[in-house]
């Protein structure tokens, strides 16, 4: 399943790259892309565990860039 989320206050391009790398490492995530320009994040992951994966995504993003908020 592929889903797109809006990001608020994603202020630095390097953070976007770091977030993307961190999300890709989460189990069950097949692909992820964080676009600094569009302030958007697209995650492709296993449908069955999607909610659980999203929780982890929020957690790793908070670690990299605490100011950035994911609109779920």
């Amino acid at each position: 399943m592929k889903k797109t989320f809006k990001l608020i206050d994603l202020d630095c391009a390097n953070c976007a790259a770091k977030m993307e790398n961190a999300i890709k490492k989460i189990d069950g995530v097949t692909d992820a892309s964080v676009s600094f320009m569009a302030q958007k994040m697209t995650i492709e992951a296993d449908s069955a565990q999607f909610d659980g994966i999203m929780k982890q995504v929020v957690k790793v993003c908070k670690k990299v860039e605490p100011d950035c908020e994911i609109v779920l």
């Binding site: 797109t4 391009a13 390097n14 676009s35 600094f36 569009a38 670690k63 605490p66």
Partner: protein
Amino acid sequence: MTRKQKKMFSRILIAFVVFIAALLLPAIWLPGPIPLISVGQDRNGCGGYALARWPIFLIPYLIIGWDILWKAARNIRNGQVFDENFLMCVATIGALIIGEYPEAVAVMLFYQVGELFQNVAVSRSRQSISALMDIRPDYANIQRDGQLVQVDPEEVAVEDVIVIKAGERVPLDGTVLEGTSALDTAALTGESLPRDVGVGDEVISGCVNLSGLLHVKVSKPFGQSTVARILDLVENSSEKKAQAEHFITKFARYYTPIVVFAALALAVVPSLTTGQWGTWVPRALNFLVVSCPCALVISIPLSFFGGIGGASKQGILVKGSNYLEALAQVGVVVFDKTGTLTQGEFAVTAVHPEGIGEGELLELAALAEQFSTHPISKSIVAAWGGTPDQGRAAEVEEVAGHGVRAVIDGRQVLAGNRKLMDRENISVALDHDHPGTVIHVAVEGKYAGHLVIADRPKATSAQALRELKAAGVRETVMLTGDAQGAAQAVAQELGLDQFYAQLLPADKVERVEALLQEKKPRETLVFVGDGINDAPVLSRADIGVAMGALGSDAAIEAADIVLMDDDLLKLPVAVRIASQTLSIVRQNVVFALGVKLLVLALSAAGRANMWAAVFADVGVSVLAILNASRMLKAK
């Protein structure tokens, strides 16, 4: 500026004022010595104790830098060590410790100014790109209980009737039931000439209704309408990243740690051998400031984003940065003939009568062919221009694969191909080798001449091919299912380098594969088609370009780059935008890395102060962003 940016701006102003005050402040005398915050000083010839400078400068430092310190601490706790906040903290705290108080504050101030500027520049360009793509309709007018109400386009169902007033944007795709108007398609196609629509015509969402009132029956829900699909496509284009972007994120991952360790080495190794800590530590601190890769990481996606935005303004949709990158290296362009280089419509291109008048020949042929629905027959009737009178033609008989036999005004008329003439034993004076289809006409058993019917090249095709050559395309190739003669004529007229005729759809894929083998290693192959029947070829080529996509879902789906209208001249424009984007990307990489390496070298040699280092960080970022934003005006 956003609220956040305004707040930052006032913080910078306050810090700046306090900083100037701290610089100008005369010595503050203390009644006695206080450990750490007092310094012994000469006061009018006798000893006294003055307030040390560091608590004074600490005030502006904290005003301007508290959030950086806080973020650095928080990020270290989260395991993110080498981020720019941390680096700025180490550099400025280091400066404070070695007694360079004004420098520490100034560097922090300068850094924050740069960050703010960078922030504003990025959000400005982001906004202007979004504005380029602002074709989303806000509402649809719908009749409810006899009244016109505004609803969200997403709520409108298929088969509903919507009303579009002059000046409004068409919210959904549909068919006109009532009214006539002119539509401005510029936002979708870049084409400035309005398109006239009347009852029965299709209208496409995203266009602007210029003059009349239109009642339109909706044919697709909003999610599948042209405008929603285009927006979706452009917004997702940043997902497909170019190699340059991948390179730079990878580079950033190694660059920062390497520079940080180099700084550490620079601080420790020479100091241990020479003992001059005071010389080497400040030099090492400069390294830390320069180590942030942000200039690169921001400006490269921004350049691509700008290129994609600029292209979409011209009616060229690019589905990803990678395609823009590939398009900049285009070497071979392969065209489908019908509908791409040519209009895809048959027209009479020549009339050669024998023994009768030109008009009479056309008239006889048109009257004989009037009942046929074949495109060739239609083109003859269209060329004649009159309204065929059914009463004048009798005993009309279609001879399958040959032509038509009819009695016109009492005369026996034959119209058809060579085979028909042979069958009826009518001698054709010359064996004409015309590009296109030849329709021979005979009257009362006597040859009366022939008509040549061909698919005309588009008016702009030849110019587009010339411009492609000028933009660096090495070879142009045409593929067609048409006969050799017709293909050759078009290829010569337009100046194509190669053509392959009489190809079946499957042969086209094979041809493209062969051409892919032949091309040079660092160039790409573009296939241009109209998106109908050529999806396999579009996906096989390095870049598939579909044109005339307005209203054709299949084309938008199959292609990597979509030209919204039928104008082939958009292709050289796309190539130019791609090359320009790539050259800006290269400029930014070279410039940013060049300045950073230069400042690193100068710092190691003790020739650059912290000001230069901050310039190499935020100053370079800002310049690179400004350079990237030039793409927004690409033509």
